[in-house]
């Protein structure tokens, strides 16, 4: 058994909130550079240049890549041999969000009473926390701020098993088509297939944490990802919707067994400001 103090968790979350909002991952930068090389639309190329320039400015000036510093999604993988000391774990994570968004000059975008007063909580709390208990004595924290524009383009379908692979592809391609310019393309497409309604949505979001463009380790899923990417990039939406070959930089899919009656599919779209940073305690 290993002891971890909740104060360490607060400190790590605060730091990750700031780092994820200031610094775009090298994998995303590489994918954008690659897209810049193959894009044929002149406006599309210009948009990609400006997105890359923006990442440079944010990095140098230590400011958020995007004014939408997101709803703070925290994936926590808690080793079963860890003993947590200190205060309430969820409160420790919230305290980290509060501190990071304050110290980092990040925008506070959370409102309470969602269907009535919609009052800003003024510190970007509460975060959405997904906890998984795993073997070992470490705690892995991944902070993934998610912008509203891309999150709003999420889709869930409970397909018929008869719809099969082609049904899955068609649903994802249609979701991207409907989203159009709204989610700030070029996008990364998280896809969940299987499980239950909420599980498949979780899979779609979790898939976005993978390094951009890294194929699924499952060859069948990797092939599905490649086929969806090919189909999506035929639509022609292009960077920021002004037309072009680069609508998506990557498709990341995760699967889970499902009920004999079901074929759940979820789409969680990630804008080009694909932000997530992690720490292992």
């Amino acid at each position: 058994m290993r002891e971890i103090h909740t104060d360490q968790i607060t400190d790590a979350v605060a730091r990750l909130c700031i780092e994820s909002n200031y610094y775009l991952g090298q994998d995303v930068l590489d994918a954008l550079h690659k897209a810049r090389e193959v894009e044929v639309s002149p406006v599309g190329r210009e948009v990609l240049d400006q997105i890359l320039e923006n990442a440079g400015i944010a990095d140098k000036q230590q400011m958020p890549l995007c004014q939408d510093c997101g709803l703070t999604v925290v994936f926590m993988e808690l080793g079963q041999d860890v003993h947590l000391e200190g205060g309430d774990l969820n409160e420790a994570i919230s305290a980290g969000v509060r501190q990071g968004y304050q110290d980092g000059y990040l925008r506070k975008s959370m409102v309470e009473h969602p269907f009535s007063s919609r009052t800003n909580t003024k510190d970007n709390t509460p975060p959405v926390i997904h906890t998984t208990i795993v073997p070992g004595d470490q705690l892995r924290l991944i902070v993934a701020p998610k912008g509203g524009g891309s999150e709003n383009m999420s889709q869930l379908a409970m397909l018929k098993p008869a719809d099969g692979r082609e049904g899955v592809i068609r649903f994802v391609v249609d979701a991207v088509r409907k989203a159009g310019a709204n989610p700030c393309p070029p996008i990364i497409i998280g896809v969940g297939v299987g499980g239950s309604a909420e599980k498949t949505m979780w899979l779609a979001k979790h898939a976005l944490l993978r390094e951009v463009g890294q194929a699924s380790p499952d060859p069948e899923v990797a092939e599905l990802e490649a086929d969806i990417l090919e189909r999506v990039n035929r639509i022609g939406i292009g960077p920021q919707g002004f037309g072009g070959l680069t609508t998506a930089l990557a498709v990341h899919a995760e699967t889970f067994p499902c009920h004999i009656a079901s074929l759940p599919v979820a789409v969680n779209i990630q804008c080009h400001s694909a932000r997530h940073k992690e720490a292992i305690l």
């Binding site: 639309s41 004014q67 159009g180 939406i237 920021q240």
Partner: protein
């Protein structure tokens, strides 16, 4: 094309979907909550916190400014959420909107009717766009925080005409040119 605010009818008539523009002058900033209040004011017959005649509204909620900076990251938000309010604002004299993403048919029809233009800025380029903002101040609805109504002084603010007053749509043109389906 370089344009200055407020927008004149002559300039609006020249703009075509797909044109790259560089905007200089005063623009106003409002998004979901500010629009809800402004349209409620119009419905009640109350004056707006600013005179919209000939003005541009930028759909945006900035990140906080660091000490010494006029504003933090300041890129566009998705425009369709303001679609329920936009025709009323145009009726009140608004001539330009800056945002990102597709507009509804009623909004596009209102743009033709009231001769107003919709510009697209690059979503997610908030740090880059902030460099074109010289000054920022809250005009009204301070309690809304990031959603308060603001006035900006901008210089060479980069945007692309998405919808012009003739029914042109840069997104539709882009799709038609690059679709391989």
């Amino acid at each position: 094309m370089e344009i200055t605010t407020p927008l004149s009818e002559k300039v609006i008539e020249q703009l075509r979907a797909g044109d790259k523009v560089s905007i200089t002058g005063t623009i106003y900033v409002g998004r979901d909550a500010a629009h809800k209040r402004m349209v409620a004011a119009l419905d009640a017959g109350d004056p707006l916190p600013f005179d919209p005649e000939g003005q541009i509204i930028y759909y945006m909620g900035p990140a906080p400014a660091k000490p010494g900076d006029p504003i933090g990251s300041a890129g566009p938000t998705t425009s369709y959420r303001m679609d329920p309010y936009a025709p009323r604002m145009m009726e009140a004299g608004l001539k330009g909107m800056i945002g990102k993403g597709n507009r509804s048919m009623p909004v596009r029809e209102a743009m033709q009717k009231y001769k107003a233009v919709y510009f697209g800025a690059i979503g997610g380029a908030g740090a880059l766009i902030a460099k074109s903002i010289r000054r920022a101040e809250v005009v009204a609805y301070d309690d809304l925080g990031a959603e308060a109504l603001r006035r900006l002084e901008v210089e060479d603010f980069p945007a692309i005409v998405v919808n012009d007053i003739y029914g042109g749509d840069a997104y539709q043109d882009g799709l038609e040119e690059y679709s391989r389906e």
